[in-house]
């Protein structure tokens, strides 16, 4: 079902984890649909992404696209990172099954959400960046289920 690259990024995800005091953090997706992605960006004063980490709740494709997205934006300028589209993530992974294309969209949105957070924190405007859809609301408060 998955390409070798997807399987590789799923089994050995790059940049998985958390950045303490990140410059920007973005969380997208919805637990209801089974995918949540969180991206952490560490951006220096020259607006270059020094580090990028992710955490993902989701299927194999969701993990692989998050992992690939972090690789693609690391070391890039903000403007360059904005050009990392879902298509670019998919191509870098040698494609995804049709039902999993939304995972790559989520990866793009997660980067945008983290950049938006960075722009808000620093009171700057990033050319071409739209306010991300905050889609994550349901199912977060059910901690007393067990």
């Amino acid at each position: 079902m998955y390409s070798e690259k997807v399987m590789d990024h799923f089994s050995n995800p790059r940049n998985m984890g958390e950045i303490e005091n990140a410059s920007g953090v973005g969380t997208v997706g919805n637990a209801k649909c089974g995918d949540i992605m969180r991206m952490y960006l560490d951006i220096d004063e020259d607006h270059i992404i020094r580090d990028c980490k992710f955490k993902t709740f989701g299927c194999g494709a969701a993990v692989a696209t998050s992992s690939m997205a972090t690789e693609l934006v690391k070391g890039k300028t903000i403007q360059e990172a904005l050009e990392v589209t879902n298509k670019a993530v998919m191509e870098a992974l040698d494609g995804l099954p049709p039902v999993k294309v939304h995972c790559s969209l989520l990866a793009e949105e997660a980067i945008h959400a983290a950049l938006w957070d960075y722009a808000e924190k620093n009171h700057i405007k990033i050319e071409g960046l739209q306010k991300p859809k905050s889609d994550i609301h349901e199912g977060e408060e059910e901690d007393n289920e067990y």
Binding site: G34, M37, E145
Partner: protein, 396 residues
């Protein structure tokens, strides 16, 4: 690749060698058409009749109440559609449950588009159909109640006898999808007041592509497949003789070994449940603890998603299944897990392990160790778990 541990026996089972052995002569030796007059055909016909008798015995039914089909889904389709058509003049109301297999649910939805009214009875948190709601749903125009014998995902066994009694009391026909139960549980059609019952060969170490529908004598049912006079004119088409022979051999084998098989499987099941509950935090056993198929284990693990878990298990040679959306090709997780009240994200993190009598305790140990490690790893990766841990820290 090391060895494989197969824990998906609710999906399908290994065809037993003795079943294959019984089938083989009917491919190359007695390949005649059972409808033909010469000896080769007569041999085939004899085998079909014999198989019908053997299967009837397992249900305490009569041979001419057994109709062979291409499997469980066909039997479900037949039972519901043909009954609906045959009894439409009496009424157009059908009662079923929210946790049926799609072969029943989608057939009911199809009938809804064709003028029938369907009531879907809810289940409790363990997946047991609410009997009072079921009885209350019966109307003068109710023609059929269809409730599965045991659930394929969470293994819950329904109070079939009670449902049969309710149906009988109100003069409504009762169909049960016994695809998971047949060969795993003793079934007596008269005692349980079952009018129709669906079963499938490949769930009990028989071949794929064969099943049957039991139809009680006197129940009206129009022809499901039109054509020749096979299956007493109700289901045309040259009989799948090797399949029928294999189905009967599998049924005979399953019921002859039922006691030992149940004992072995429930021991493995209990071992899995006990170890998982003890060793993996934030998990939940889905389905009823007691009224449960001997081979079924179904857990939800919070903060993780099922497909990831399955892929990682597959890498370790473990075959399992999940009710996560990603494994169904839709955005919604299993309708059964939602029906027992699980929130979506917990339903996404479910794992079904269905054992066979061939599995060993050592294999169960390997599986629990694997699941434990994978769940830990996926939680490390999960933003939901991160939020949970942070919220817990704040509390304390």
């Amino acid at each position: 690749m090391g060895k494989t541990i197969y824990l998906d026996n609710a999906a399908t089972t290994k065809t037993a060698p003795e079943v294959v052995e019984a089938m083989l002569p009917y491919f190359t030796q007695y390949y005649g058409n059972p409808s033909s007059i010469y000896t080769a055909g007569a041999e085939a016909k004899k085998a079909v009749n014999h198989a019908r008798e053997k299967i009837a015995q397992t249900l305490s039914a009569a041979p001419d109440e057994i109709y062979f089909t291409a499997g469980g889904s066909e039997a479900d389709n037949w039972a519901i559609k043909a009954t609906a058509e045959s009894y439409a003049s009496k009424g157009k109301h059908i009662i079923t449950s929210t946790i049926e297999h799609h072969a029943v649910l989608h057939t009911c939805q199809y009938l809804e588009k064709h003028g029938f009214d369907v009531t879907y009875i809810e289940v409790d948190e363990n997946g047991i159909v609410k009997l009072d709601a079921l009885e209350a749903a019966i109307r003068p125009d109710t023609i059929l109640i269809s409730v599965m014998f045991a659930n394929n995902e969470i293994g819950t066994i329904q109070p079939i006898k009670e449902i049969g009694e309710i149906a009988k009391k109100h003069g409504v026909l009762f169909h049960t999808d016994a695809v998971q139960a047949y060969g795993q549980l003793p079934i007596h059609v008269d005692e349980y007041h079952i009018d129709m019952l669906s079963a499938s060969g490949h769930k009990l170490n028989g071949p794929k592509g064969i099943g049957f529908l039991y139809i009680r004598k006197g129940v009206k049912s129009r022809s499901f497949v039109h054509g020749g006079q096979q299956e007493r004119g109700r289901r045309a088409g040259t009989e799948n003789v090797p399949g029928i022979v294999g189905m009967a051999a599998a049924a005979e084998r399953a019921y002859a070994q039922l006691k030992e098989k149940t004992k072995k499987e429930s021991e493995l099941r209990e071992y899995l449940i006990t170890r998982i509950e003890k060793e993996i935090p934030y998990c939940r056993l889905n389905g009823d603890r007691k009224r449960r198929l001997p081979n079924n284990v179904n857990f939800s693990f919070r903060f993780i998603e099922g497909e990831s878990l399955l892929i990682m298990l597959d890498m370790k040679g473990i075959c399992a299944s999940s009710g996560s959306a990603c494994t169904s090709g839709s955005l919604d997780p299993s309708h059964v897990l939602l029906a027992i009240g699980l929130p979506h994200e917990i339903a996404h993190g479910s794992l079904r392990l269905t054992v066979s009598e061939e599995n060993t305790i050592e294999e169960m140990d390997d599986v629990v160790d694997a699941v434990k490690g994978i769940v830990e790893r996926l939680r490390e990766m999960s933003p939901l778990y991160e939020d949970f841990v942070k919220a817990e820290k704040k509390k304390s």
